[in-house]
């Protein structure tokens, strides 16, 4: 079980919870279970999502595992310049 922080725009779509508990081994499972629990998250995830694990931003590597007690945060996939 990991505790996941959500970026601001997601909070209203996840029952107004800024942090949610998810049982997930890796990013792929995390995102799938988040959408299962909160279908409204599908659209923002489709527009682009990144997951921060212990301070490191992962935008594409969805096989990245979530270590026990990891600090996890779901963030919009941002553009660079």
């Amino acid at each position: 079980m990991v505790e996941v922080g959500l970026w601001g725009a997601l909070i209203p779509l996840a029952g107004n919870q800024p942090r949610v508990q998810v049982e997930a081994r890796d990013i792929r499972e995390l995102l799938r279970k988040l959408v299962e629990a909160h279908p409204g998250l599908q659209e923002p995830f489709d527009e682009g999502v990144a997951v921060v694990i212990d301070g490191t931003v992962y935008r594409d590597d969805w096989s990245r595992t979530l270590p026990d007690g990891a600090e996890v945060f779901v963030m919009r996939r941002l553009a660079g310049g």
């Binding site: 970026w7 301070g55 931003v57 553009a79 660079g80 310049g81």
Partner: protein
């Protein structure tokens, strides 16, 4: 694959040296081919008809007179570019921006395009296209656009991120919020509070090379696109999506790129050129004029930002709050959200809240510009932090050190930081001779910090060992500032061969797998990771070939200094150089290559601290930058010259933004300064030498410790210059650019 991207301490031979860049001779002799330097047989010339109105409904377009003009081969409008985006908002915005559909949303919005046998005919044809407009009220200012009675760009925009959904449409496309703690309680605990509203005007990336492409669509649907872009694979995907083409049939070649800075991460006219070529059945060259570049491509957001920060008298910040309003052009994007995330990222805050509002205005679609959205937020926050330090009677560097984020800090945008470099850049600034240098009359010093995320992404590299033992390295990230030199160094390092034995090229979309764009400071970070991986794969093959030659197990062959060597003493001192192995490759299993396809994640966030001295003429408000220092963490500087170049270039762009660059609109909503005469980028005589200090704190998520360096350098300058000007003038400047009339007015107000 088994590739481990984690950092391993090592001694470098090639990396960290400063050899000549491989594309240098082509570029100093004029042989390098940029977007407009390429031609195809039978090529037509395209020109685009653009809206003279800031906001209007298109009631009719009649292209028949233009089509009838001798020499005109195709005319396209939105009718030739049907909506295939399937309801995807961001894609529809790109399509609508490339060619106006029922409405034009800004001065310069494309309405129709012509392909003709020469420029003169194309220009004449534009005058024969009859467009009737129903002109609508417009709004260009970000604050005015939020007023209750502001003209609405769309009637179906209900602010996203607000619960419950608003019942009326507005120009505020989205709201986002970040933060933690109890901000009200934090302010209650504060002994000193500063509060101010800041404004920044819209700026352009100002790349010297206008957008240019040559598109050629064949009757069988195969197509080629030659284009100056930061991401030819992404352009291929976007153009194929918008025009309903097979990705495999569209081959995109990135030309040498004459500057991008984010502005060439977006498609502008490329789909139009392809549509014209498809219709005309001939190659089409489309080159934007400078006027078009300013009016219809790339500007960053104009902003209006409220900042409030409170602290105790011993210099500890107790609460921070910011509301950031960013113009996004006619369509929603996430620019304010990004600004809201970056604004307080440098600090360790118990109570913080940031709100971002995406505001629609009748200006060109806002685009990425080097650490997009961060410089404006940093300007507001770092100005406020400076003001707070002054109010507290504290040294601005010391105050920042006391409040700086560090490993384990919960960032203002949510996640907790790993090891980060803000502290070391501040300490380096504190120790820098620049901080102690005396100031002259009417001079002031300012400093500021900056943050940027940095990204990695999908990356693909081929490393081919040629028969003579030289190496051709094919990369898929566009080289915007010397990356081919850096990546050649990395290949040389990993293979243990000389730098000049490696030739790096940027491959086209048909010859290499998919690569994300060169954006997010990812070019050298990502492609060096892929190059290391590809080189290791090639080394494995070469060890196998040596083992085969010697008839020993591959495990007994090691790779050292460009040679395969037998490890076990009983096997003698056998050694084969890369050249020996390559020469025999035909007899040992065929060509030798190493490939790599990976996701380079873990770029790691980036910080910088800048110091700036200015002199302000008290009678005219003219500002001269007299000294400038950039301190930034590079993780590991692969080619230090080009790391310094990124630092200096970002600083120069930031100085221009701070002092003179701005989009100026008339009351009619038309851009008044679409040219380099009155859009005032810094010229050579405006700037001093720009000193740099490269810190090297290894990035744990890269084998060599490399960190992206391209963007962060533009984040601190707006605030560093503003703090310096405010100190020199004795009055706080809160509106960027600090042009002479604004400074003189502030001086007069001070009295």
């Amino acid at each position: 694959m088994g590739f481990d991207p984690s950092y391993q301490d090592r001694k470098f031979n090639a990396v960290g040296t400063r050899p000549k860049r491989p594309d240098g001779i082509d570029k100093v002799t004029g042989r390098a081919r940029y977007g407009a330097d390429f031609n195809m047989p039978g090529q037509l010339v395209a020109r685009v008809l653009r809206s003279p109105h800031a906001h209007a409904r298109i009631t009719s377009i009649d292209t028949s007179r233009a089509e009838a003009l001798k020499g005109v081969k195709a005319v396209v409008t939105a009718a030739d570019m049907p909506d295939l985006t399937g309801g995807k908002r961001s894609a529809f915005a790109i399509l609508s921006n490339c060619m106006a559909r029922d409405k034009v949303f800004y001065d310069g919005h494309a309405v129709a395009a012509v392909a003709a046998i020469d420029a003169r005919t194309a220009r004449a044809a534009l005058k024969l296209i009859d467009v009737t407009y129903d002109v609508l009220p417009h709004v260009v200012d970000v604050d005015a656009a939020m007023a209750a009675d502001a003209p609405l760009l769309h009637d179906n925009v209900f602010t996203r991120g607000v619960d419950p959904r608003p019942e009326t449409s507005s120009n505020v496309a989205a709201r986002s919020e970040f933060g933690h703690g109890d901000v009200a309680a934090g302010f209650a605990a504060a002994e000193v509070v500063v509060e101010r509203t800041y404004k920044t005007e819209q700026t352009h990336q100002g790349y010297i090379e206008p957008h240019a492409c040559v598109a050629s669509v064949n009757p069988d649907g195969t197509a080629e696109l030659w284009v100056c872009t930061q991401g030819h694979f992404v352009f291929r995907q976007t153009c194929a999506d918008l025009l309903g083409m097979d990705v495999s049939k569209l081959r995109v070649t990135s030309s040498e790129i004459g500057g991008g800075f984010g502005g060439k991460t977006h498609v502008w006219a490329e789909p139009v050129a392809l549509a014209l070529s498809r219709k005309a059945g001939r190659p089409v060259k489309l080159v934007m004029s400078r006027d078009e570049v300013f009016r219809a491509s790339g500007p960053t957001s104009a902003t209006s930002i409220d900042v409030r920060i409170g602290a105790t008298s011993d210099g500890r910040i107790t609460a921070a709050d910011a509301t950031l309003r960013y113009s996004s052009g006619p369509w929603a994007d996430a620019w304010a959200e990004t600004g809201a995330m970056t604004s307080f990222a440098c600090y360790d805050l118990e109570n913080v809240r940031t709100v971002g509002l995406e505001v629609l205005v009748n200006r060109p679609k806002s685009a990425a510009y080097r650490a997009p959205s961060a410089p404006m937020a940093a300007f507001a926050v770092e100005s406020a932090v400076d003001e707070l330090a002054t109010r507290l009677g504290m040294d601005p560097v010391e105050f920042r050190i006391r409040n700086a984020a560090s490993e384990g800090t919960r960032s203002s945008y949510g996640p907790v930081y790993g090891p980060i470099g803000i502290g070391p850049t501040l300490e380096a600034a504190q120790a820098h001779a620049h901080m102690q240098a005396p100031l002259g009359e009417n001079q002031g010093r300012g400093m500021a910090c900056g943050f940027w995320f940095n990204f990695g992404g999908q990356t693909c590299t081929d490393l081919n060992v040629n028969a003579d033992g030289t190496v051709t390295l094919a990369v898929g990230t566009v080289d915007v500032g010397g990356a081919r030199a850096s990546l050649s160094l990395v290949a040389a390092e990993e293979l243990g061969i000389a730098y000049d034995r490696v030739k790096a090229v940027v491959a086209d979309t048909a010859t290499l797998g998919y690569n994300d764009m060169t954006d997010g400071s990812r070019g050298t970070f990502s492609s060096s990771m892929a190059t290391i991986s590809a080189a290791r794969n090639a080394i494995r093959v070469m060890r196998e070939r040596a083992a085969m030659t010697w008839g020993i197990p591959v495990e007994d062959v090691v790779w050292e200094d460009g040679h395969a060597r037998a490890r076990t003493p009983g096997q003698g001192n056998q050694s084969l150089s890369i050249k020996d192995i390559a020469a025999k490759s035909g007899n040992t299993g065929g060509p030798i290559a190493g490939h790599s396809e990976l996701v380079a994640d873990g770029a790691g966030v980036s910080f910088a601290t800048h110091i700036c001295d200015v002199e302000v003429d008290p009678e005219t408000g003219a500002t001269r930058v007299v000294r400038y220092t950039v301190i930034q963490d590079a993780g590991k500087a692969v080619h230090p010259d080009y790391v310094e170049g990124q630092y200096q270039g970002g600083a120069a762009q930031g100085i221009g933004w701070a002092l003179n660059e701005e989009y100026i609109y008339g009351a009619d909503g038309r851009l008044q300064n679409p040219g380099f005469l009155d859009y005032r980028v810094p010229v050579c005589s405006d700037l001093p030498m720009i000193d740099t200090q490269i810190l090297e704190i290894p990035n744990p998520n890269h084998p060599y410790g490399v960190r992206g360096v391209g963007e962060t350098s533009i984040v601190p300058p707006l605030a560093a210059v503003a703090n310096a000007v405010s100190n020199a003038a004795g009055v706080r400047l809160a509106h960027i650019p600090m042009s002479p009339p604004r400074i003189l007015a502030a001086l007069d107000q001070k009295g």
